[in-house]
């Protein structure tokens, strides 16, 4: 019995010595105390309690410090985690802060700076996740990036970033096209949709126009290549109709690429082949001849350069 009393006294003593200094203080103050001591886990614990307190959660500084603590924890412990919940909580907290009267908010300027920083980390992680195994995560992170940027500046124009990201995503998804594996129709549709979205954002984007033309051309060429020689004429006519439709889809994008003089030689091959697929031999030959002339010019230029070197 005496032993138990001693133990209780010791516990009471320890409790008082650790927390005695916080008597009468709110959770936000305790959190700030730990934050100043760089004890971020404890700071996090008390800042989370603060937002459950009706009085504290209406203060902009509560959300500012919550954002700051979570941002610091993310930087120190979780930076390699592309889907870090700490980062998202930091963004959520700063966002909440900005929902208060922004103009008069003494923390808003600093919060915006930190949101910009966090948005940049999101953009970087979205780009780093652009691989066949993680691209869905990349899409998700990029969406977080967009939302964050729009929170910082509701009138921001993200067209350029959207176009770049979609283009990079489409190019990554298109990789199997260069291998034996090729693309199935679902992949082709998914990639075509992305390129079209890029073109909607940036109609003169040469890469998207060129790649979309090639994507469609390859789709039709693959269908024809895989046709069985025993296919009956009725079925053959159906396949022809389908392929003509695809070649026609390729055409405007190849023409745009030509207009933009992007990868001119490859574009000329594309145009010649698309018209060949459309059985328009006159136009196919026209672009073929232009390519031959271009190659001849290149050859002449190389000869001249060699002569100069001599």
């Amino acid at each position: 019995m005496i032993k138990k009393i001693y133990i209780l006294i010791i516990i009471a003593f320890l409790t008082n010595s650790t927390f005695g200094q916080f008597v009468g203080k709110d959770n936000l103050s305790i959190s700030l105390f730990y934050m100043q001591k760089s004890e971020l886990d404890s700071a996090k614990k008390y800042i989370d309690l603060s937002i459950q307190d009706d009085a504290l959660k209406s203060l902009s500084k509560t959300w500012y410090y919550r954002g700051f603590i979570y941002k610091e924890l993310y930087k120190i412990n979780d930076k390699e985690n592309k889907t870090s919940a700490l980062r998202l909580t930091a963004i959520e907290s700063f966002t909440k802060l900005l929902s208060f009267e922004v103009d008069s908010n003494e923390f808003s300027e600093s919060a915006i700076k930190m949101l910009n920083y966090l948005a940049t980390t999101l953009y970087n992680d979205a780009a780093r996740s652009l691989d066949p195994d993680n691209y869905k995560t990349a899409i998700l992170i990029f969406e977080y990036y967009r939302n964050t940027m729009q929170m910082v500046n509701p009138t921001i124009d993200l067209k350029l970033q959207d176009a770049k990201f979609k283009l990079a995503l489409a190019s990554m998804l298109n990789r199997p096209a260069e291998t034996e594996q090729g693309l199935d129709s679902i992949q082709t549709k998914q990639i075509a949709k992305l390129y079209k979205e890029v073109i909607d954002l940036d109609p003169n984007n040469p890469v998207a126009n060129y790649n979309l033309a090639i994507l469609y051309y390859n789709e039709a060429a693959d269908i024809i290549n895989n046709m069985d020689y025993d296919m009956d004429i009725e079925k053959l006519n159906e396949v022809q109709d389908h392929c003509v439709e695809i070649f026609l889809q390729a055409l405007p994008y190849a023409k745009k690429s030509y207009e933009l003089k992007y990868k001119l030689k490859e574009t000329l091959i594309a145009l010649s082949n698309i018209y060949y697929g459309l059985n328009d031999m006159e136009k196919s030959d026209f672009y073929k001849k232009e390519l031959e002339l271009l190659e001849l010019e290149d050859l002449e230029k190389k000869k001249e350069d060699l002569e100069k070197e001599k």
């Binding site: 096209a177 046709m227 069985d228 020689y229 025993d230 022809q240 328009d280």
Partner: protein, 174 residues
């Protein structure tokens, strides 16, 4: 943001693979080869032609020769081995079941017909008007699609029988 720029540039410089017609598939020839395979089934040759190799001759330069050669590696006509022959000029023409006359051959159809003599040969051409000048089947382009015209008389005069199916599938029948 510098890092992101680098990552995106790397991705963007990635070029999409382009399948050259010469390297991959000649879309026009593949279609024609399938049509020709169908002709072997929808035209009936005399009994004496149902033994030995089934010969398809190509007069003049044409990418179709390569496509037909590719087809011959895997396909047969009934139980006859498919053999593809290339004839540089009409003088080289020997007995064959189907004779494809390339537009680039530069040969007059009348000269070709002289060389066929009395053989049971289906003459296939790809030039406007030749269906009226002796060709049995002439490939034409309609609305960007490969189609064929049929001249029954020109087929039957070589003791060949045209199936009603082939007639039904032709763009026009004479």
């Amino acid at each position: 943001m510098k890092k992101i720029a680098l990552i995106l540039v790397t991705l963007l410089t990635f070029s999409t693979g382009f399948k050259l017609t010469g390297d991959g598939v000649d879309t026009n020839s593949k279609m024609k080869a399938i049509f020709i395979m169908n002709f072997t089934k929808l035209v009936e040759w005399p009994q004496s032609y149902r033994e030995g190799n089934f010969v398809v001759g190509v007069v003049g330069e044409s990418p179709l020769y390569l496509e037909l050669s590719k087809m011959a590696k895997t396909k047969k006509v009934a139980n006859q081995t498919l053999e593809i022959k290339k004839f540089v000029s009409s003088d080289d023409i020997s007995k064959c079941h189907i004779l494809y006359v390339s537009q680039k051959s530069g040969e007059e159809i009348s000269t070709i017909i002289k060389h066929i003599k009395t053989n049971s040969t289906l003459i296939v051409t790809e030039q406007q008007g030749l269906i009226d000048k002796g060709a049995g089947i002439n490939f034409i382009i309609k609305d960007n699609r490969q189609k064929f015209e049929l001249n029954k008389k020109n087929v039957e005069k070589y003791k060949l029988k045209v199936s009603s199916n082939l007639e039904a599938l032709a763009f026009s029948v004479k």
